[in-house]
Symmetry: C2
Subunit: 229 residues, 2 copies
């Protein structure tokens, strides 16, 4: 019988924000896959190690997930990662693939998930805490109340349009475009908070669009609310 692929969200950084299910699956299974080139460099691996040091005795697989938009390079790497996982499943072994945050929200895991699923293997997604929920918690504020909509918007999207929407806006992955995003936030006069590396070393919070730096790391996120509260 073939093994099963589990796509497991490990949350945004704090090892205690792992779910009970995520930790159980890591403990019960021998093969742990993580995105990257060296498994021990992976943030997802480090998060689990923060609460379960014995993970270093598991069989670790690094699944290459280059940060590129080149469709040819992506296709090659997804095919390669799928093949690596498939070999384990065919040998009757389960694979637990760790991914930052939640596997259904902008994760690269999902591309491998779809391929494995289409090949007819059993697959399961295990939810994780999203970065935007963790950021709101850290700031001690609500994201949305009552009838307010919530818009989660990658910076590659038209931020100008998004800022006109009613409700709360979460701007993700703005790192490289931060100067442009900051300009638009300052011009629109909306209340904004930015957080870098939430729950990780180097965490930093910026209150107000004027405070936001022109450059920021990959793990930065901006919350824009309709009004101060």
């Amino acid at each position: 019988m073939s093994g099963k692929l589990f796509g497991v969200g490990v949350g945004p950084g704090d090892p205690e924000l792992l779910t009970l299910k995520a930790l159980r699956l890591v403990k019960e299974n021998e093969i742990i896959a993580v995105p990257g080139n060296d498994p021990k460099d992976s943030v997802a691996y480090q998060i689990v190690k923060g609460i379960y040091e014995e993970i270093e005795n598991k069989e670790l697989m690094a699944i290459p997930m280059p940060m590129t938009k080149d469709p040819k390079v992506l296709e090659e790497n997804h095919a390669k990662g799928t093949q690596m996982i498939r070999e384990k499943l065919d040998a009757g072994k389960n694979v637990v693939f760790l991914t930052l945050g939640d596997p259904t929200v902008y994760s690269t895991y999902i591309y491998v998930h779809k391929r494995i699923q289409q090949m007819g293997y059993e697959v399961e997604i295990v939810s994780g805490i999203t970065s935007f929920c963790a950021v709101a918690a850290k700031l001690n504020i609500s994201l949305v109340e009552k009838a307010e909509p919530l818009h989660v918007v990658p910076a590659s999207y038209q931020i100008e349009d998004a800022l006109k929407l009613p409700g709360t806006k979460v701007l993700m992955k703005a790192g490289k475009k931060m100067a442009d995003v900051k300009k638009q936030l300052v011009e629109s006069g909306v209340p904004a908070v930015m957080i870098e590396n939430c729950g990780m070393p180097g965490e930093k919070i910026y209150h107000g669009a004027q405070e936001i730096p022109e450059t920021a790391g990959y793990y930065s996120l901006i919350i824009v609310k309709d009004k101060e509260n």
Copy 2:
């Protein structure tokens, strides 16, 4: 010294989707508050009990949170709940307030949180798995990929406008308005999936707008994607 208020998300239903931190806080503290009239009727309480039966030996507090839009009734109840919690904090005891899903996403807990915070007490939010992440996991699909925005929209909002937005739409709390929501979904011709009671007893999935029933329970949620995938 005053106690501290923890607002703890217990996730969408599956007790194993509790975070390690949520379970630790329940175990370490004696006073557990839940929304409702009888603590043991509360869904949040039942979720924790599913994995930690000893919760029944804790000091349980039911915090009234009536489902009404009447501002006077809400004000009275939030004031009453705040007072109940405040008495425990003044006695130097921590209070762990359990709430379904995540405390920052449409939770009624947040109103008590704000009041207690404004009074100068220490407060902390502990993130939980949101219902929309759990639903996507259950359906084995991604919510959003690459540059797609995610719009989480309560049914009391203008759904017609929301359906025109690019990206994935999550329609929440549509229960009472389901007939109207269904009509708009059928007319717009978008691919929709509805799930009722995700991860709870009575879970049911409906594929396609035509399949959606005219009436549905409170714990129903619809995912509308730009295209089938």
